[in-house]
């Protein structure tokens, strides 16, 4: 195993682990705010949860980007060819 492969594996792990922190915090805040809003206004629960789902998917995309980068590094690394 050469240094390039070693660096790729380490960077893939770093990309996923650190890329998960931000979206996790963001999703936590979003869910907490939505719970708060539903508790205050239970009749608006439908609209709030629909918006929440869309927002969560948007935030989650950031983590998915990191996952795709990691997979590119592991399986389709242009430098290792």
């Amino acid at each position: 195993m050469n240094w390039l492969a070693f660096a790729s594996i380490i960077s893939a792990a770093i990309a996923v682990s650190f890329g998960a922190i931000g979206p996790a915090l963001g999703e936590g805040r979003a869910v907490a705010a939505a719970m708060d809003a539903i508790a205050r206004q239970p009749e608006a629960a439908n609209v709030i949860s629909r918006t929440l789902f869309v927002g969560l998917a948007m935030i989650e995309t950031m983590a998915i980007y990191c996952l795709v980068i990691a997979l590119l590094l592991l399986f389709a690394n242009p430098l290792l060819k």
């Binding site: 629909r50 789902f53 869309v54 998917a57 995309t61 998915i64 980007y65 795709v68 997979l71 399986f75």
Partner: protein
């Protein structure tokens, strides 16, 4: 372990390689088309149980379109409804043993995202003409033109990566757990995967609606539809 970014050709149709994802896509498409023809074949005013169920589905799709887009659902029902039902069935096709969902391959998702990209332009031009559609790029002011243009490309790309990443990571994780822990252990993950699949189909349809409504709604004043 095989790479999730490549797909292996099953057989060749002349010079064209046919992968398992393509076969699964065509089977799902044929099932949906034949199913729709059978269901709408004999409609009656007093609905049977099947007809009542599918009327409920169409009504739910209509309600979601009306709530999200604030427009009358008739022109958008076919496109958005088909997107949702196809992605939903494709994501849940992993329930059948041996079938990998076609949405876990990047080509299928790229095709779906491209459809949304074209549909936004199509519905935008149909609502406000070419001038009206192009002028939406200059809103709120002309400085935003490059930014709006880039946004229309990047949001298509993020639509593609979101669906691909979510479905593929589910399949990938199940494969890893299966190879490490063995039979029956990944079942909770598969249940989670079903939930993710349903939510992602919903999200994809909702975002397609939001993008189309953005292109259509800015070209003309929004009507006051009761929600």
């Amino acid at each position: 372990m095989t790479s999730p970014l490549t797909s292996v050709a099953l057989f060749y149709l002349g010079p064209v390689p046919i992968t398992a994802g393509v076969v699964a896509t065509w089977v799902i498409m044929a099932m949906l088309v034949i199913g729709s023809i059978l269901v709408t074949h004999r409609l009656s005013l007093v609905p049977s149980k099947t007809q009542a169920f599918f009327e409920l589905v169409v009504d739910t799709v209509d309600g979601q379109i009306r709530d999200t887009m604030r427009l009358e659902p008739t022109p958008y029902r076919a496109f958005v409804g088909t997107l949702f039902i196809f992605i939903f069935v494709a994501n849940w096709s992993s329930l059948i043993p041996g079938v990998e969902p076609p949405t876990a391959h990047i080509e299928t998702d790229a095709a779906l995202a491209l459809l949304v990209f074209v549909a936004v332009i199509w519905f935008g031009i149909r609502a406000g003409g070419v001038r009206g559609y192009l002028s939406t790029f200059a809103s709120p002011n002309p400085i935003m033109i490059p930014l709006n243009f880039i946004e229309s490309l990047t949001r298509t790309f993020s639509l593609l990566v979101r669906l691909f990443g979510n479905v593929m990571s589910g399949v990938f994780v199940i494969g890893i757990v299966l190879s490490l822990a063995g039979l029956l252990v990944p079942i909770p993950l598969m249940v989670l995967d079903l939930l993710t699949g349903a939510v992602q189909a919903y999200i994809f349809a909702i975002l397609a609606m939001v993008f189309i409504a953005g292109a259509v709604g800015e070209t003309k004043p929004a009507p006051n539809t009761p929600s």
